[in-house]
Amino acid sequence: MATSRTIRVDAIARVEGEGALELQIDGERVTLARLSIFEPPRLFEALLRGRDYCEAPDITARICGICPIAYQMGAVHAMERAIGLQVDGQLRALRRLIYCGEWIESHALHIVMLHAPDFLGYADAMQMARDHGEMVRAGLSLKRVGNEIMRVLGGREIHPINVRVGGFYRLPDRSELTALALQLEQARRQAQRLLEWAAGFPFPDFERDYEFVALRHPAEYPLNEGRIVSSAGLDIDVTQFDSEFEERQVAHSSALQAVLRRRGSYLVGPLARYNLNFDRLPADVQGLAREVGVGSGCRNPYRSILVRALEIVYACGEALRLIAAYQPPDAPAVPVGPRAGTGHACTEAPRGICHHRYEIDADGTILSARIVPPTSQNQLTIEEDLREVAARALTLPDERLRERCEQAIRNHDPCISCAAHFLRLTVRH
């Protein structure tokens, strides 16, 4: 007799923000796979209208407590393009350095506190810590180092206040950077241990033919700038984002879902970045990738935990390189002045590309703002993952299937929930 199963998780735990999962299975067929985002709209784009263009980095930093730098960087780069300004040299390097801090703290938090318990069969990181205390300590220590970079350069760890259009308000002292470098040396070793630990996890045999979308820079592993490229041959300037991507409303989500106009769903984030930019990683990081079996390409979303660990190793090394090469610039910021214009920017948030577009008038008042965060771009792909994961695991009991589906969501570190976790599961025969 065919069985109809409904698997629901009303509030998905161990992700950032508030979302729910619903899966409907009729017989051998998955008929519904839905990631619902029910957090109320944030209205930041409307909030920005009428404000001065120089206020954008401080307002947008409030969008996220984990990845405020992504929003600040998107805002300052877009505003600088709107007023015809290019910030180079050591100020550019410091922006890259603060972004490294965000990658380190965000990835470390996700690996240890949110994702690893799935692979090892623990309900949460607190339980996992009883048996894997050293790795939890390493993850927390990495998070602290990432936060420390954000504090030194950004003025504080959460919602930094030292980033401005044109550069920074205050430059770091040499002694502060030297202290960071000491911590980063240890952090890099801890990140390698974290990588080796995660490489021993049992990974489901699951691959999908994603269209990866990420930035690509002529010389660097992408953080602040580059062209938007994809594994299907897309290669555009960030100003062409609207011609290739579209955000759509869906009834079950308060977040817009982005799609490629011509091809539909796509994936942004560490897996996309890595697959499209492996050749931009230093040789030592490439070597580590081969040692842990990821190689130059990876289409298994469960193994994204390894890519995040590799990106922490990279970010620690890149931060050390930037600190070693640092020469204080003449001023913490270059002079800025408003002019009417439109500015686009796209940067690589820990969870993937984050696109900003602003229109400002001659006195610098923001006329319109549009921000496309990574999670809205990955929603459709996450739902497709859920459908495939469930279809391949129909023989699992409901509880195991639910866990597998939640893990599939956490593979992409969506910024939607870490509220209380409760499940209503109904099985109809």
């Binding site: 984990i66 506190m113 949460d124 607190m126 205390g133 939890v136 927390l140 602290r144 870490c418 509220a419």
Partner: protein, 165 residues
């Protein structure tokens, strides 16, 4: 005991009315000899680093649902009289609101993790003060402001009792 460092951590958001009571108590005690005070409004995991090296730690937070506004609950979370569980809600005293951060883990989780990782301070005491309002942008209510001063006084008496102040 006189050489023992004491840390007072005020938890809460001063822009959310009575949620700011923790930071207010921390500020009332700032500057006392031998006392370090700091405030946190998110990311309870950072507490594990904040209290590293401190033997005596007071956490002051707003609470909801365990008494009339302004009432003060004291929960010893580690030390000679601490309950077996470090979860404030099961400590046999008041049910204390966790630090509600969308992007971080709450106080109960941070305490559980600290205990597992052996990173609890030797003596950790929670003062939870019942709030009347948590509205955005509103000031502290008068009854909670008065409770903040009483809490600061109680903490000072505790410090004197151990020869710290």
């Amino acid at each position: 005991m006189a050489s023992e460092a004491c840390l007072v951590i005020g938890l809460g958001n001063a822009a959310r009315a009575d949620d700011g009571v923790g930071p207010l108590v921390a500020s009332l005690l700032a500057g006392l000899a031998g006392v370090r005070s700091l405030c946190r409004d998110a990311d309870a995991l950072a507490l594990l680093d904040d209290w590293a090296g401190s033997d005596l730690v007071f956490i002051v937070d707003a609470a909801s649902g365990a008494g009339p506004p302004g009432s003060i609950h004291r929960v010893q979370l580690s030390g000679p009289h601490a309950p077996a569980s470090t979860h404030p809600a099961s400590a046999g005293h008041a049910r204390v609101a966790a630090v509600a951060s969308t992007h971080g883990l709450g106080l109960p989780q941070a305490l559980a993790l600290a205990r597992t990782l052996d990173r609890l301070p030797r003596r950790l005491i929670l003062y939870a003060i019942e709030g009347a309002s948590f509205d955005c942008g509103a000031p502290l209510s008068a009854v909670v402001r008065a409770a903040a001063q009483r809490t600061a006084d109680r903490i000072q008496r505790e410090l004197r009792a151990v020869g710290l102040h």
